[in-house]
């Protein structure tokens, strides 16, 4: 049967025959390869370590100052601030993702390999996400110590939801970083653009404080507004959907920017 189909059209027909799960597996394998390479490259440059040190130090600082209050329930403030810190740190991590490849010329190599634009973008996104997970993992001593210090009375539920929330909150941020990194090969511009976009999406609900009516749309757009429930121990499906939609949109735009090289 394979022979018969091959006569019709070699490579393409074979792709159609292969079951869906093998195709997904192959898709993921290549994406993972790109992600792994990017992670190795990220963690062999100083950027990853300096940002992580900065991140861990600030969390430590907040941890100690909140610990002074002596109340485990107050710790949610730490995660609010962690989200803000991410707004400052993530642009530095994401700026290089695609811009570096562009600068080195390896993007041309990657895009002339049998790899789709989506695989490249998702691979880069995953690398950025890996940095985030590393950062969050390095702060896991916070719930551990809180549990120890409160003699096991602290309710750790809100801590775990805060971590889940941070992951979902950061996903669109990283995707926006990937987008800016795909637009320019100048990493400084990529970082500034990313930071500017974050800031815009962060403060966009400010005008709604006083105004009414359709200005409420801005509150809906604001990324930070939806984060607070997570730190209170509540995971809302709608918020997850919201963050995933943002992530998808930013990744889609990155893919479009990459694909635009063909016709620009």
């Amino acid at each position: 049967m394979k022979g018969a189909v091959t006569v019709l059209h070699p490579g393409r027909a074979l792709i159609l025959i292969r079951p869906l799960w093998t195709r997904i597996y192959e898709w993921l394998t290549v994406t993972a390869l790109i992600a792994r390479r990017e992670i190795r490259s990220l963690f062999s440059s100083w950027i990853a370590y300096v940002t992580l040190t900065f991140f861990a130090f600030l969390i430590g600082l907040m941890f100690i100052s909140i610990l002074q209050l002596g109340e485990a329930g107050q710790m949610r403030v730490l995660y609010w601030n962690t989200a803000i810190i991410l707004i400052f740190v993530l642009p530095i991590v994401t700026m290089r993702l695609l811009a570096e490849e562009r600068r080195l010329g390896t993007l041309e190599l990657l895009l002339t390999s049998p790899v789709t634009d989506w695989q490249v973008v998702v691979g880069k996104f995953s690398a950025g996400f890996f940095w985030l997970l590393t950062g969050l993992a390095l702060s896991l001593y916070v719930p551990y110590l809180i549990n120890r210090f409160s003699g096991g009375t602290a309710d750790l539920g809100p801590y775990w939801t805060a971590y889940i929330g941070l992951a979902f909150f950061a996903a669109p941020l990283i995707a926006i970083g990937v987008f800016w990194s795909s637009v320019t090969d100048n990493q400084i511009i990529a970082a500034m653009g990313t930071f500017g976009t974050y800031l815009l999406l962060y403060i966009i609900n400010w005008p709604t404080e006083g105004a009414a009516g359709w200005a409420e749309i801005f509150r809906k757009i604001s990324l930070y507004y939806r984060f607070q429930d997570f730190t209170a121990g509540l995971i809302k499906f709608q918020d997850i959907v919201y963050y995933l939609c943002w992530t998808f949109l930013a990744l889609y735009l990155s893919v479009q920017v990459l694909a635009s090289r063909r016709w620009r």
């Binding site: 390896t106 895009l111 002339t112 390999s113």
Partner: protein
Amino acid sequence: MIQVSELTKYYGETLALSQVSFTVQKGEIVGFLGPNGAGKTTTMRILAGYLSPSSGSAKVGGYDVVEESLEVRRIIGYLPETVPIYSEMRVREYLTYMARIRGVDRKRVRSRVDDVIERCGLRDVADRINGHLSKGYRQRVGVAQALVHEPKVLILDEPTIGLDPVQVREIRQLIKELAGDHTVILSTHILPEVSMTCQRVLIIHKGRLIAEDSPENLSRGLMKSQRILVRLQKPPSEPLSALKNLDGVLSVERRDDNLFAIEAPTDQDLRPQIAEAVVKRGWGLLELRSEELTLEEIFINLVTKE
């Protein structure tokens, strides 16, 4: 192996390629010749699936470069103009990664990488970091990555640019060895490179294909005359008439105190007569050779011919 028909590419308002058509047979080595900005890189990028043509079509190995871009990319090896290597990776690491990305079977990756390291003479630097390599080695790493997945078609954009003469020779040798198994299409703006490595030359100028032939035919057909250089130890104050009067000499030009350029028809070799004339007059013959036409001159010829 490669069929290109009426390929046209605009960058915004600028026309980069205009109605370029050619075919390349399996196992051929074809050179793409033209000055910078002629459209070589654009053509190669289209063939590699990096750009889409504005109109026209290109097929590589039977696959359309736009419609079946992924299939095309599976069977080509591409070396872009700026050698693209991740500077923080080690050579072997990098080649392994490229092999995996290009879809080499996991079990064969190791042997393939070893093979290209051997073939491209990278054994001594296999565990070095890319960023610390010399320009020549980087170029070889670039060629190695294009070969690692045994592509049917090799597209090499200026593979010898910026190399010293020894390295240039090595790379050329390598490319020659590849002929037969692979179809090679390479671009350059140096004529000897084409004549040394390629079986066929495509000359491209301002986005148009203006000539297509074997290197020998091309230079022969293009040269209305050949030029012979003579260096004398004791040149006379006015030797020009003596040379000019030789049979067949078209003109004589004094390049500097000791060097003279003699123009002669292509169907005649005047070197014996010139030597004799010089020795007879005791001017002290230091050097006597025929000069290759430069690409610029061929171009000027081609363009003026049009």
